[in-house]
Subunit: 195 residues, 2 copies
DNA sequence: TTAGTGTTTAACATTTTTGTTAAACAAAAG
DNA sequence: CTTTTGTTTAACAAAAATGTTAAACACTAA
């Protein structure tokens, strides 16, 4: 009878995600992942066969998460401003935990020059863009190409967390100070995008 | 007489920078760099002795460039708005060429957990922050923690270029379309940060 | 108890990446 | 022209990272 509690398998994957997405160590070796997980490196091969397969799984799940988050945003049927507030709250919460996830995905794409499998989001995005345009016509937000609005939004949410190590130094802040700043971001972003 | 035209040495360094900063291939091997430069890999060792020394030089020069850019911003004595406009123009121009430079620096810092040698900028930054605060009091820009203003500014400039590969897909754009969008960023950013 | 199943480990093997050596080459200096 | 100096290359060596094997282990079921 196959009991097969995938406890260790999950531990390895979670540790890899922590190293890549949270700590931003994009060059981590299988040995480093194994050490961080407190397991023998052979186990990593036992569960995933190869480093490549582990990487691919981590990558795929990151893509799925990003995509699911997009869907959640697009499909929430509330008022526009509520939708935006929810988006910011959800995104920031995850970005504080996993600031480098998008960076991991992007650099993997750059390194392997493989195609991005996200085409299916385009229709939903178009719907979102239309909605933004309506808000602009209604005078609720500043008029601009709605794609710039979306880029602004993601930039304002994502970048301060990615650049944390540099910013902490420039502003002379410790981890706690910086985290406190990050928790102010939701209000700041809303203030910034709402004329 | 030592002629020593450092043509090849420079070619190697420039190619490394292109691969890291422009193409975002952060895992590139010495062989890949040598191939891209069209030289024998041994030459890389002849000029730099080790992969580590090449990396360190590239890293140091990236830090110097970032720092020099900061200085340029801080020390330009013009009116605030002119200063900001110049900053955006200079930053975007470089970021279009080398979108991944900051990411390279950040991931190197994360991977080696070495200290950031930029402390000397803090005083100038404080001066800049004071200036921003004055502008806020004068009602020229929205009131907020000036550090958020700085973070917003850099986020709006840097992120859309870093996330280009994802955005092109989401918005269904080819390289030229996306570049055209990027050239609109200066105006968009000014509009966004000026209430 | 022991046969069976899945898990974990150490030892070993292979592959990939980096580093070194010695010799070929090219151009200028004597 | 031949010696010197710096550049480039191929062949080799070493190190680092990944992958495999076989045996030990732990737990359950017959």
């Amino acid at each position: 009878m196959s009991v097969r509690d995938n406890k260790t398998e999950q531990l390895i994957k979670d540790t890899a995600k922590r190293i890549f997405f949270a700590e931003g160590k994009l060059h981590a070796t299988t040995q480093e992942i194994a050490d961080a997980a407190g397991i023998n490196r052979t186990l990593l091969h036992y569960y995933f066969r190869s480093r490549d397969i582990l990487f691919k799984q981590v990558f795929e799940e990151a893509m799925l998460t990003i995509r699911a988050r997009m869907d959640e945003i697009f499909e929430s049927g509330e008022l526009f401003k509520e939708k935006i507030e929810k988006l910011i709250a959800v995104f920031l919460q995850e970005a504080i935990l996993y600031p480098y996830r998008e960076i991991f995905v992007i650099t993997e794409l750059n390194s392997n020059s493989k195609a991005v499998p996200m085409v299916s989001e385009q229709q939903k995005m178009q719907f979102f863009l239309n909605q933004i345009e309506e808000e602009m016509k209604a005078g609720n937000i500043k008029k601009m190409d709605p794609r710039h609005f979306v880029m602004n939004l993601f930039a304002l949410m994502a970048y301060p967390l990615i650049a944390a190590s540099l910013n902490k130094n420039i502003f002379n802040l410790n981890n706690d100070d910086y985290l406190a700043l990050m928790h102010e971001r939701k209000a700041v972003i809303l203030q910034t995008i709402y004329s």
